[in-house]
Symmetry: C2
Subunit: 144 residues, 2 copies
DNA sequence: AAATTATAGTTGCATAAGCAACTTGTTTAT
DNA sequence: ATAAACAAGTTGCTTATGCAACTATAATTT
């Protein structure tokens, strides 16, 4: 049976991703932020004002993470005063989230580090290749 | 602060990878095989005869997985008679592994499913793009 | 409008993952 | 040759993950 693990795409992708994620994780672990927590901060921080109500569910859907994992990450962020719940306007179940001032401050401290990290990686890749990569990654994700 | 999560490469990669991995995981979960166990089977199964002694450590290094995670996965595979320990020739600590007949049988049952899965994904990507992807993934992994 | 069905979020539980410390066997240094 | 340093693999422990079940609110059906 001819099966070459080294050419098996899911494996290759997984390896590359894990390497990157783990290295990046160390960056924000310095702020006691886990991967999931960083995702929440990133979604809330990247969101322009008034753009959308970022509820836990919306974040779960966007990032394709489990809602229970998110629920706990959010709980922790709220306890630490980094995220707050905005008053729900219409739906009493949903609970739109936002960064607090403290949360935004932290977000703005982490972003340059994350970007520098990305730059270190992406720096080795040509512009054309990057565009191709973007396109392929888009194609891999059917995501709704 | 301008930070666009949707264009942040580690995030994009992670999303694509998780989608693929999770879908694939369902395939071998049908055989009561976890991700880590599948990796072990794949490394052992893909290895040509006499190519290299695949010890737990060698697999850990190749796949960049934690050795304790692997230790337990291997233990389980041995208990189920899918993997066996070959006699160590020189080093009394190391314990080279191999598929049993039963293990190879299972491996050969899973491979076509995994390949079909990959094909479903890769089918949408042009050959040129695939080559580029391979190259980029290689570049992302400095690995040693 | 009462009853059913669906949705947002949380909690319980069982499993997975990974660090640190340990055991056993192997080198290296003196 | 003996002690010290090192490496392979395992075990303990803590935390992360993700499914299933639950609570509370909202929408739909009749």
């Amino acid at each position: 049976m001819n099966f070459d693990l080294d050419k098996f795409l899911p494996y290759r992708l997984s390896l590359a991703t894990n390497t990157l994620s783990q290295a990046l994780a160390k960056d924000y672990a310095a702020f006691d932020i886990t991967r999931t927590q960083w995702r929440v901060l990133a979604v809330l921080g990247a969101g322009l004002e008034g753009e959308q109500d970022w509820t836990a569910g919306a974040i779960a859907h966007k990032t394709m993470m489990d809602k229970t994992t998110l629920s706990r990450a959010i709980k922790n962020l709220i306890e630490r005063g980094l995220v707050k719940r905005k008053a729900a306007q219409d739906d009493g179940r949903a609970s739109p989230l936002a960064l607090t001032a403290k949360g935004r401050k932290l977000f703005e401290k982490i972003v340059p580090i994350a970007l520098a990290h990305e730059e270190r990686i992406v720096g080795n890749i040509s512009n054309d290749d990057l565009k191709t990569l973007e396109r392929i990654l888009g194609a891999l994700l059917v995501h709704d």
